[in-house]
Amino acid sequence: MTSTPGETHQPPSSVHDLGREPEPPSSASAPGAETAPGPGEARRLTREELERVKARDPEALAALFEVHFDRIYGLIHRLLGERSLAEDVTQEVFYKVQRAAHRIDPARDPGAWLVSIAYNACRDVWRSSAHRMGRRSGSIDADPVLSSRLEARDGNPADQFEAEERRRLVVEAISRLPDPLRSAIVLHDYAGLSHQEIAAMTGTEHAAARKRYSRALVQLGASLKESLR
């Protein structure tokens, strides 16, 4: 990646505060700042639609859900590596969005705010004793939709098998990374966030976020070196 979208974006300052939900996007906290859409985010809601989200208009809430659900679910799934846990955490994210909808600033796209809530919710999971004791590595097999999609793909079965095996190894290698390193890779390479945005979200310095990403890439590269060649 030679340039990263949204490098100038300043997420809300309270994002990294421990135990607090991030504030909805506010034009006062970062005038004119925008976040570039990540993978799977096809469009943005218009200002008028966001006004209606604020008023909890069902049609606008449905539009908000359609625009952001796939990206948020995908991000959480990648961070946690487990389907049922990802479903619960995604539910928690949209529950928080529902509660805070009236505080949304229609002047700003809520995408970065949703990603912040999702990341904080995943971090809460990592901190919970239940997760630490029962941590299991994720696999494509744990995702029935993904599995069936892979199985249904046309083409040479040997190639398909090899591709599936390759993906499984990558997912396993990512799940074995320590939580901070996994976050760095997933937020940057999967969610398309800049190091600046990640730094604000995780409560670290910009340089530290870059360094962490660098370490994650080195560690993942070493882990995959033998298995993917």
Binding site: D70, F94, A121, D124, V170
Partner: protein
């Protein structure tokens, strides 16, 4: 940037390309539809799973004596946890011929010792069609895992705390009855379409291609679609939660479940409470 493409090593470039080639995880249509409906209607509730809640304590940054305190706390925790732990799952009977899959490993049904060694709280168990595995945690629960079932064995509630346990049924049927030691505990069961909350009862959870059927033989069970509102299902009733997001339906308990659930409840008295079967 530190990682401009030209400065990456071959290994790092390989890692980055591998990540970007990964397919996007996709939610199941039933879950997506249920969550959307609840979100749009304003009736979305917080998920019940304890793992999604924040830990009750976080280490302060840079605190110098953390290692000693952590060691003491861990030791204390191990002692308390050991004392609190409820009786482990026992495989009490196995019926049928075939090969079960436990945590991804094949275990022949007639290898009772191997089955006893591998099946425990949190184990993922797939029972071949036509077979049956019965598990018991003395005083707490008896669970019958029917043929064709793919399920995660729930934990056993602690004696004094950590009394909420979770299990999963991805396909097939579980029959469950709870004993006197289960009093005050809570079992949460998740299926692809439904969430079920058990606080002491005899019931069957049947996970079918169309949805999940919960048949309640005794007591009361709370049942609802994923991300949707839970409703109480009383003894003698069943509730069906559809995969495609249709409203759940209630009716009388399935006739086919009456006899096996009745027998299971009778066996509970015999196996867990030392009473004779009726």
């Amino acid at each position: 940037m530190t990682h401009e493409l030209e400065t990456l090593s071959d290994d790092e470039r390989l890692a980055r390309e591998a990540i970007r080639d990964l397919p996007v995880p996709v939610a199941t249509p039933a879950y997506r539809a249920a969550l959307k409906r609840a979100f749009v209607s304003g009736h979305l509730t917080a998920p019940p799973r304890a793992a999604s809640r924040p830990g009750w304590f976080a280490w302060p940054r840079g605190w110098p004596g953390w290692a000693a305190l952590a060691g003491s706390a861990a030791l204390l925790l191990i002692v308390i946890q050991g004392a609190n732990r409820g009786p482990r799952w026992q495989v009490t009977s196995i019926a049928g011929q075939g090969v079960a899959i436990v945590d991804g490993l094949p275990v022949p049904m007639n290898h009772l010792d191997e089955m006893r060694k591998r099946v425990g709280a949190g184990a993922r168990l797939r029972v071949p069609p036509g077979c049956q595995v019965e598990l018991m945690s003395p005083g707490h629960m008896i669970v019958e895992v029917m043929g064709g079932t793919d399920a995660t064995v729930p934990g056993v509630p602690g004696r004094w705390f950590w009394r909420t346990v979770e299990g999963e049924v991805n396909a097939g049927e579980l029959r469950i009855t709870t004993g006197s030691a289960f009093h005050g505990a809570r079992l949460a069961i998740a299926t692809p379409s439904a969430q079920i909350e058990v606080t002491g009862t005899t019931l069957a959870v049947i996970c079918e291609p169309e949805g999940t059927c919960v048949c309640v033989f005794d007591g009361v069970v709370r049942v609802g679609p994923k991300a949707g509102a839970m409703e109480s299902v009383e003894h003698g009733k069943r509730r069906y939660v559809f995969n495609d997001g249709r409203d759940p339906e209630s009716a009388s308990i399935r006739d086919a479940e009456l006899e096996p659930l009745g027998e299971l409840e009778d066996r509970r008295g015999e196996m867990m409470e030392g009473r004779e079967a009726k």
